[in-house]
């Protein structure tokens, strides 16, 4: 299946990319998508082993299941405000 992956801030710089369509075999978790991202975008390998992630615009743990068409976002440490 295909999920949309988005990179922000420093992670976008590491990936050299802000948005990508990533293919992973089903069933898959957010963690599986991240593992695939590390393969495809070597610059992201220096991200923490367990980066903050959002699934469809909500923060989730890395064992959350993903489905076709979902949006997975990789979030650097938050410093809002």
């Amino acid at each position: 299946m295909t999920v949309s992956v988005r990179f922000f801030a420093r992670y976008a710089e590491l990936a050299g990319c802000t948005s990508s369509a990533v293919h992973v075999p089903m069933p898959a978790t957010v963690g599986d998508v991240i593992a695939k991202v590390r393969e495809l975008f070597p610059g992201t390998r220096i991200m923490p082993l367990r980066p903050l992630a959002a699934l469809n615009r909500r923060q989730v743990k890395l064992d959350a299941a993903v489905n076709e068409g979902d949006e997975v976002a990789l979030l650097p440490p938050i410093s809002g405000g």
Binding site: R6, R10, A73, L75, I78, S79, G80
Partner: protein, 141 residues
């Protein structure tokens, strides 16, 4: 209405949207860019759609805790010069304790939850991402 803007924040506009004759106490918080270590501006970027939804969730939680209060928030993105505000929160309530507490609640949640990032810009043209862990900072500086 979006909680995110790329324009300077206008406190009077926020006040007009929360105040009313039933609400005797209003607390406003403004967070602005500090000129620490020669920072001239901070470039704010966000996962905008999620940030907007997360702000709505935070404001909804405040509304449930303080049902008589009105609380709003505007976050500015883009390059913000030192001294200008990146965030403005206004909370009006019948009494001052609720206004202060609701306003404080919102800024604390914002700091923990909003997918917004800061890149510090220095006079010499260098930049540095501000992570929550500040020691992890100087990649480009």
């Amino acid at each position: 209405m979006s909680h995110i803007t790329r324009h300077p924040l206008d406190v009077n506009d926020l006040l007009a949207r929360v105040q009313g004759p039933e609400r005797g106490g209003t607390c406003v918080f403004l967070g602005s860019v500090r000129n620490d270590d020669g920072v001239t501006a901070i470039d704010y970027s966000a996962y905008e759609q999620m940030a907007d939804e997360e702000i709505a969730r935070i404001l909804g939680e405040a509304q449930r805790q303080w049902p008589d209060a009105r609380v709003i928030l505007q976050h500015r993105l883009g390059e913000i010069p030192a001294g200008e505000a990146s965030i403005a929160i206004a909370a009006a309530a019948p009494h001052r304790d609720e206004a202060f507490t609701a306003c404080r609640f919102v800024i604390e949640e914002v700091k923990k939850r909003l997918p917004i990032w800061k890149k510090e810009m220095f006079a010499d043209g260098t930049t540095a991402w501000t992570d929550a862990q500040r020691q992890a900072k100087p990649t480009t500086r």
